[in-house]
Amino acid sequence: MVYNGHQQHTITALVQDKPGVLARVASMFRRRGFNIVSLAVGNSEQPGLSRMTFVVNGDRDTVDQVTGQLGKLIDVVRISDLSDQETVARELALIKVETSPANRGEIVQLVNLFRAAIVDVGAKSMVIEITGEEDKINALANLLAPFGIKEMMRTGRVAMVRGQAEGRVSDSVGIGRRGDIMDRARVNYEGV
C-alpha cells in the first residue's frame, strides 16, 4: 500500500508481556525517528506473550532498520515483516454519527451496504461498528461525513499471514536466528 509516496509496511512483533514493554518499543521508534502509522497491541495465543502490529511508513531500508532495532529489544521475542506476504488485515472502528428522524433510514442503508453494525442508538446520534481493511473504513467514514461525525475511534491494523504461519522464515525473525540472518543480512549481489 502506498501512502504519501512511501510504502506502508505491516510488521508484527511477539513481545514478552512485561511492564514497560510498550514504552521500550515506543521509545525506540521515537529515538530512531521512525514513524508509526498505527499500533495495535493485545494478548497472543501464548500466555505471557503479547502481539503488536505496527504499520510504518518508509522505504525498504527504513523498514529493515525498524525490524533490526526492534529485534535488539530484549523483550521482543520474534518479528515478522508481513510486507511481502499474503495477509489478512483488519481494523475496527466505532463511529458516532449525528442522526435525525429524517436521515436515519439512509444511514441504516449505508451501514447495511458495508455490512457494518449499529451498536447504539440515541435520540440524536448512533454508534456504528465497522470491521475491515482501512480502505473500507475510510469509505464509510467519507459517506457518513455529510451527516456529521461526532466521534470516531479506530483500533489500528491487526494483521496475520494467511495459511499456516509456522515454519515460515519471515515468522522466525529474531536476533541470531537463521531466518533473521538471511533476512537482515541480505547479500547485496549488485556489483559483487
Binding site: G20, R31, V77
Partner: protein, 567 residues
C-alpha cells in the same frame, strides 16, 4: 536460610565473580551498603560523584574484558550515572548499574529523591530492570550480567526499591541458566555470507581492513593479525579499534577519519575493498557517506544485525561473532602479496607524514605523547577524555598491546579520563595506567583524585593544559570566524597545588627538555601523580576533515613559513 534483598544482591554479585564495584551510597541504596560490610570479598570503591562510578566501571570493563559494576542511590544518584551509562552504551561496554529506588508504595508519588531511572535510561541501556519482588532479584541480576556481556555488549541497569532490598526475605536461588526467548546472540556466520566475503577478498587488488572495537571485544586480535598477514592487507583502525592491531606492525596503516592520519583516509579512499570488522561506520570515520570509499566494495562483519546496512550498504554483510567469523574466513582466504598496493600505501605515508612533529623548542602536546609512548614502550594503558588531547594521544602514542586505549569514543564525554583510568587500574593493577586529560575535561571529574588517594589507585594523571577548550576553540578558528566565545579558561586552578591539596605530587612542565624527566619522575613515585604540561593555546589537531565533508576536503598541517614540504 532466607536472605534480605540486599544480601541476595551481594550473593548474586559473588556468583557472577564480581570482586569490585564502584559507587556512592544514599538513602534508597543504603540497605545494600548495610549488607556490603558483611561481604568483604566485594571491594567497594567509594567515588566522589556517581558519574565517576559509572565511568570507572566502564574503564574496568574495557581494561579487563569483564563486566564492570557501579551502584548509586535513587534520584540524583541515578541521574548522575546517566552520562557514564550513555558512554558505555555508545561504545558497547558491559557494565551493570545497580540503583536504589524509593520504596514500592512511594513509587509514582514524587517521593523525595524519586526519579524514573528505568524510563530515563531506556534508550541508553541495552536493557534495564525495575525489580518489584524480592523473589525476582537473583534472576534479574543473573540476566543483567548475561545481557551486558553477551552479543554486542552494553550497559544494563537494575533498579531496586528500598523495601525490596530491606523488606521480606526470600530464599537465595541462583538460576542455573538464563532463558530469554528471542535473545540468541550470533556466533558463527552463515557459510554463504562468509564464502562471498572470502571471494571478495581473493578478488581484491587494493584491500583495506577497517578494524573497530569489535576486534577487541571478541578477542579477535590474533585472528585479525593472521588475516592481515595471510593476504597482506593493510589495517586501519577506528578510534576504538586502536590497539586492536599493533602500531609497529608493517601492515598497520593508521586511523582514518576526521582527525585520522591522512594516509589512512587516503588508503580507504583508494581501496577497492573495505573489510570492516566490528565497527559501525561512525560519521567521524566516514565523513560524507556518499563519498566514503567510493571505489570500494564493502564487507561488513558485525554481531549486531541492525548495524548491517545502517549507515553504509554492504556488498557482503556477515552477521556473527568476529572471532568466529575470522576463523571461518581464514581458510578460505588465499595467500596474496598486494605488492603494488602496499607500495602505494607506503608512498601515501611518505607523501602525507601526518605524524611528523614540528622541530621546535616549544612544548608541543604531540611531543609529550610521543615521549610518553617511548618511555612506556607503548605498553601503558592510556585513558583519555575527549578533545584535542584525545586525538593527539590516538595519533602519537604507539600502542603495542590490545585493550590499551580507553576513551569515550561514541558519546565523546569529557571528564571520562580520570574515573575511567581509576577503573582500568583497579582492573589491571600490574599495568601502568596514564590518564590523559585536557584542562577542561580534568576539571569535570578531578574531585575523584580523592578516590585515587583514598583507595590507593596508582594512576598517573597528565594534563595537556592549554587553558582553553581546545577542540571547540579549533572549530571556532576554522568555522566560526575566530570568535572564541566561551572557550578560554582564564581562571584555571594551579594543578600542582591542587594535586598537593589532595596529598599527592604535582609536577609542572613548561619546557620541552623537562618532558621526559617529568614522566620518569611521575612513574618513579609509588602513587598517583599529576603532571601539568603547559602548552600553547592555539595548537591545532591536524589533519582535519570537517564534519560532513570528505577526504577531498582534508586540511593538513600548514607548512611553517619558509619551509617546504613539512606537515
Amino acid at each position: 536460610m532466607k536472605l534480605t534483598g540486599a544480601e541476595i544482591v551481594c550473593e548474586s554479585l559473588l556468583k557472577e565473580g564480581v570482586d569490585v564495584m564502584f559507587g556512592l551510597p544514599g538513602g534508597a541504596i543504603l540497605p545494600l551498603y548495610g549488607a556490603l560490610s558483611r561481604y568483604p570479598q566485594l571491594r567497594h570503591i567509594l567515588c566522589r560523584h556517581e558519574q565517576a562510578a559509572a565511568m570507572a566501571a566502564d574503564g574496568y570493563a574495557r581494561a579487563t574484558g569483564r563486566v564492570g559494576v557501579c551502584a548509586a542511590t535513587s534520584g540524583p544518584g541515578a541521574t548522575n550515572l546517566v552520562t557514564g551509562i550513555a558512554s558505555a552504551h555508545m561504545d558497547s561496554v558491559p557494565i551493570v548499574a545497580i540503583t536504589g529506588q524509593v520504596p514500592r508504595p512511594a513509587i509514582g508519588r514524587d517521593a523525595f529523591q524519586e526519579c524514573d531511572v528505568t524510563g530515563i535510561t531506556l534508550p541508553i541501556t541495552k536493557h534495564n530492570y525495575l525489580v518489584m519482588d524480592v523473589a525476582d532479584l537473583a534472576p534479574a541480576i543473573k540476566e543483567a550480567f548475561y545481557v551486558a556481556r553477551t552479543g554486542r555488549p552494553g550497559p544494563v541497569l537494575v533498579d531496586i526499591p528500598k523495601d525490596v532490598l530491606l523488606g521480606e526475605r526470600a530464599e537465595f536461588v541462583w538460576p542455573e541458566q538464563v532463558n530469554i526467548p528471542g535473545y540468541n546472540p550470533p556466533q558463527d556466520a552463515d557459510r554463504e555470507q562468509v564464502a562471498v566475503a572470502a571471494r571478495l577478498i581473493n578478488e581484491a587488488e587494493r584491500p583495506v581492513i577497517l578494524a573497530g572495537h569489535g576486534v577487541l571485544i571478541s578477542h579477535a586480535y590474533e585472528e585479525l593479525r593472521q588475516l592481515a598477514e595471510r593476504a597482506q592487507i593493510p589495517v586501519v583502525t577506528t578510534l576504538l579499534g586502536i590497539s586492536a592491531f599493533p602500531t609497529d606492525h608493517y601492515l598497520h596503516a593508521g586511523m582514518p577519519g576526521m582527525h585520522g592520519m591522512a594516509y589512512a583516509s587516503l588508503a580507504v579512499d583508494q581501496a577497492d575493498l573495505v573489510i570492516a570488522l566490528g565497527m559501525r561506520f561512525d560519521d567521524r570515520v566516514t565523513g560524507r557517506l556518499r563519498d566514503f570509499a567510493p571505489r570500494a566494495r564493502i564487507i561488513h562483519v558485525d554481531i549486531d544485525p541492525s548495524e548491517l546496512h545502517k549507515n553504509i550498504k554492504a556488498n557482503a554483510p556477515v552477521l556473527g561473532d568476529l572471532k568466529c567469523v575470522l576463523r571461518q574466513l581464514l581458510p578460505l582466504v588465499e595467500r596474496r602479496v598486494h605488492m603494488e598496493w602496499l607500495r602505494r600505501v607506503d608512498s601515501l605515508r611518505a607523501e602525507h607524514p601526518s605524524l611528523r612533529i614540528r622541530d621546535t623548542e616549544a612544548l608541543l602536546p604531540q611531543y609529550v605523547m610521543q615521549q610518553l609512548s617511548e618511555l612506556t614502550d607503548g605498553k601503558a594503558i592510556i585513558v583519555t577524555g575527549v578533545g584535542q588531547h584525545q586525538m593527539w594521544a590516538a595519533q602519537h602514542y604507539g600502542f603495542k598491546e590490545p585493550n590499551t586505549l580507553i576513551t569515550s569514543g561514541g558519546l565523546g564525554a569529557m571528564g571520562f579520563e580520570v574515573p575511567a583510568a581509576l577503573g582500568a587500574k583497579v582492573g589491571c593493577p600490574d599495568r601502568t595506567v596514564w590518564s590523559i586529560a585536557g584542562d577542561g575535561g580534568f576539571q569535570m571529574t578531578m574531585c575523584d583524585l580523592a578516590t585515587a588517594v583514598e583507595s590507593g589507585i596508582n594512576v598517573k594523571f597528565a594534563i595537556l593544559n592549554n587553558g582553553v577548550l581546545g577542540m571547540v576553540r579549533q572549530w571556532q578558528e576554522f568555522f566560526y570566524n575566530k570568535d572564541y566565545c566561551a572557550t578560554v579558561y582564564s581562571a584555571n586552578p594551579d594543578f600542582v597545588k591542587l594535586a598537593e591539596a589532595f596529598g599527592i605530587t604535582g609536577i609542572r612542565v613548561k619546557d620541552k627538555s623537562q618532558v621526559a624527566p617529568a614522566i620518569q619522575q611521575a612513574m618513579a613515585i609509588p602513587g598517583p601523580v599529576v603532571v601539568d604540561f603547559v602548552i600553547k593555546q592555539d595548537e591545532n589537531v591536524y589533519p582535519m576533515i570537517p564534519a560532513g565533508e570528505s577526504v577531498g576536503e582534508m586540511m593538513e598541517e600548514p607548512a611553517p613559513e619558509g619551509v617546504q614540504g613539512i606537515r
